[in-house]
Subunit: 511 residues, 2 copies
């Protein structure tokens, strides 16, 4: 092999990864800046941890409980220790807090944004590297810490220009379900094992997708899907499963199966929590859970966050196994068309909850913590669907390079000093090719100074394709741009800057 | 093993990685924003590539030519292909350009910033993950493309508030040295192999550290260092090595060995390039190299960038093997104390050059390219040494939580709406503990509303430790803060916002 002439490597992106260009980067940057500004206004401060953690420190808190050891990119360091790329920003936080516990002012509150990596099978829109934006409070068991995250999340979505009604922050408590299972006898000392508790949680998590009949099947004997695949059920009795269904807000109807109760749906009026508590019996854990929810709701309502922004929803589960109390999820409520062509609501863009055991793994003592994570790409996608674009670059002016590149740079420097984004042509092609390039770059005007113009002490300012297309938004200079046979003017060199500024000030860009 | 009770994992940072806190993150963010603004003003637009590339696409263009295959974090994907984390931002650019060549408007100009990873032995201040900021122009062989990068680099350093004279952008051309070796007979067809050309380049690169005598030894018979280690030389004859030394600006003095020629040193007057060309014979490659340098210098001088900002320096080598023409380096000239306690100039913070073969590796056809890379952490360190701090967070106001957390949040929301960074205490401790926490968080004022204040329709505003320390900068309110026995005032609840705004407006923060 080594003796053979080496083949050229093929230039290709690794499977499941992607490149991103100016528009997407600028939009994401603007979005991250807004989130950061809101989080900092609440007193959260940034932390950065490395891409790698020791594999044993990341532990098994993996998102997909079915494959606890898969899903992570790992390699062995030269001292034989295993390193893994972080798969979220919570596990590194737990490591950081445990390592620096003595020196941190507690409650410790930080935000962090950055890439995370999942070694999973890529799919359409599913990448193996993506950005998260997390905020967490470690060292406070107070419901105020949870309430704050909910309000901060609502504030963030509105700061991102989502209208009220286009989003809802939903709140649940894992203890409600545990209390329900307790009440029907499925306690840790009884039938309730971590295993079938997980099956029950995952069944509930599929309500949106499978509907109440499918959930009931998964709670009891199991379910066969359209392709014939069978999913094992939680083996609850019909009575037990019916209790869970009532908790979720569904009642058995003789002809139609499980149908939604009238108390479903978000709206004004008494909080859904109280309506649930009225009709379901909780064990002690569930009673504690409802108290926690009441405390949180009392704070956010007092601050003016009504049910159209923050609402209890007992069907919210959140997949992660490590949550121990309140869980929450921000959903976008406007309709979009999915891959199958169906109209659905956009759905979840952020989620989180209380996890009191993650730091304990290192410390041996519990450390109450609560946090929220925004799926940055998904939220960005939602904003672009809503036409909420931001972060666009300012208009670009293009300077051609003829026989004297230095003169082109001098012209550009004058413009840049006034804050005008200006590109000098850095190749050595003919004028027509340069102007074609300028069009492809989306420049608005080209400035040309060949030897003729220079001898006359002038420059030519030429409107480009991008300029032409939106020339109808121009008011005062339209007579100039309308003159298609001569979409250019000559101005004295020392008037150039003023003329460009005047042209740009009549310019209208962005929505 | 699996049967044993699992030990708790130890919470520790992986070797050679680091966590970063608010001050460092804010300073870096401000610095990156400034660089971005300057680069965008030149028409460069952002690109993001993934952390991973296929190992064969990264190739052997590694920074350390002595270990061409080491230095990279690699792992095997589940389809048996090798993936590597990027070790710089240039190799991914080459892959991107080759993959998208047909669709790109050329010259293609992009900037990219992000983490890179080096699988190397960590040392003090040497980390295995760090940030780079690159700008490149691909598809232009014109000296205008190089000149633009030099001017953009100088503009960037001044936009970062470095004063003229505190930095210098140095320019050289690999072709000068090649032309020199040609002239003394060390041509590819003669003695010049890639191997001993590399030895000569690395010898010159060590001029700063070893001085002219050490370089001469490395050019000829080799050198034994203080610890007794021997480094092999390039085996040039004394006459050949003397030619290289003259090129570097050193003449043999009978009593003192090699001493600096009078034309050394940056200053006004004719460019050093012409003084070098006068006294050294170049072969055809060197003559081409001097022409390229003259063209670049002519452009930057015409644009007003004199020798105090951009200067030819024939001792600049840049370690990377892939440079084919002009190379450049931005150095900071102010003195600092190094680890050994010696006073030295700060040195290099950015570098780059022309590399015409990197894209060709994929394409089979050459694609001229030139680029510059800023070492972000190193430059940030330099700015902090100069006392150029930026990006600091605005003052923090702290709201205690007594018996009514909702009221605390309402107070905080009022302040945040005015853009005041406000933290609500999210724990449930005693007032004294809360105020101690607020001090540790660096808050300026605490707002307290216990039941007594609430009954009176008032709040208490208390000056904290951080506020006390800089109370002497306060003009109008110093009588209040000077009152150490009662560094607090009570105000009516509905006057609170105005009072806080008034206190903060008299506040002076940042340099």
């Amino acid at each position: 092999m080594a003796e053979q002439k080496q083949n050229r490597p093929k230039a290709r992106l690794p499977r499941g990864f992607r490149d991103r260009g100016p528009a997407e980067i600028a939009a994401e940057r603007a979005m991250l800046d807004t989130i950061r500004r809101v989080y900092e206004s609440y007193g959260f401060e940034p932390l950065e941890t490395p891409a790698f953690e020791y594999t044993d420190a990341l532990g098994k808190f993996l998102p997909d409980v079915d494959r606890p050891n898969a899903g992570v990119f790992s390699l062995k360091d030269d001292d034989e220790q295993w390193l893994s790329l972080r798969y979220d920003l919570t596990a590194p936080l737990a490591r950081y807090v445990a390592e620096n516990f003595q020196h941190l002012a507690k409650p410790f509150r930080r935000y962090q944004t950055g890439s995370v990596w999942r070694n999973e099978k890529p799919g359409p829109g599913r990448f193996r590297e993506f950005t998260q934006f997390d905020a967490d409070t470690v060292g406070s068991a107070s419901p105020a810490a949870d309430a704050e995250l909910l309000m901060m999340l609502a504030d963030t979505l509105e700061a991102l220009k989502l209208k009220r009604g286009e989003y809802i922050v939903k709140l649940n408590n894992r203890k409600l379900l545990d209390g329900l299972l307790e009440a029907i006898g499925l306690t840790p000392s009884g039938l309730l094992t971590a295993m079938n508790r997980g099956v029950v949680l995952r069944a509930i998590d599929k309500l949106d997708r499978l509907g109440p009949q499918g959930v009931f099947q998964l709670l009891t004997t199991g379910r066969t899907d359209d392709s014939g695949d069978f999913t094992k059920g939680a083996e609850l009795s019909t009575a037990e499963a019916d209790n869970v269904m009532r908790f979720l807000g569904y009642s058995m109807n003789v002809t139609r199966g499980y149908v939604e109760d009238s108390f479903q749906g978000v709206g004004k009026g008494p909080d859904r929590l109280e309506r649930i508590a009225e009709r379901v019996s909780f064990g002690p854990t569930g009673i504690q859970g409802t108290k926690e929810l009441r405390d949180i709701i009392q704070i956010v309502r007092s601050c003016g966050y009504e049910e159209d922004r923050i609402a209890v929803d007992q069907t919210v589960v959140r997949g992660l196994d490590y949550y121990t109390g309140p869980v929450f999820e921000a959903q976008l409520t406007f309709p979009v068309t999915n891959e199958k062509g169906d109209t659905v609501v956009f759905g979840s863009v952020a989620g989180g909850g209380r996890y009191d055991n993650l730091v304990a793994r290192f410390m041996g003592q519990p450390s109450p913590a609560t946090g929220v994570s925004i799926g940055v790409s998904r939220l960005q996608h939602a904003l672009s669907l809503r036409g909420i674009s931001s972060g666009a670059l300012t208009p670009l002016v293009f300077v051609t390079t003829m026989d004297d590149p230095a003169e082109s740079f001098k012209i550009a420097n004058e413009l840049r000093r006034e804050g005008i984004r200006t590109e000098v042509y850095a190749g050595n092609k003919k004028l027509q090719d340069q102007l074609k390039y300028a069009d492809r770059r989306g420049a608005v005007f080209a400035i040309i100074q060949g030897s003729i113009e220079r001898d006359m002490g002038q420059v030519t300012i030429k409107g480009l394709e991008f300029g032409k297309e939106i020339s109808n938004v121009l008011k005062s200079r339209e007579e100039w741009l309308a003159n298609q046979s001569g979409r250019q003017i000559n101005v004295d060199r020392d008037m150039m800057l003023n003329e460009i500024k005047r042209l740009l000030s009549n310019w209208s860009w962005g929505p």
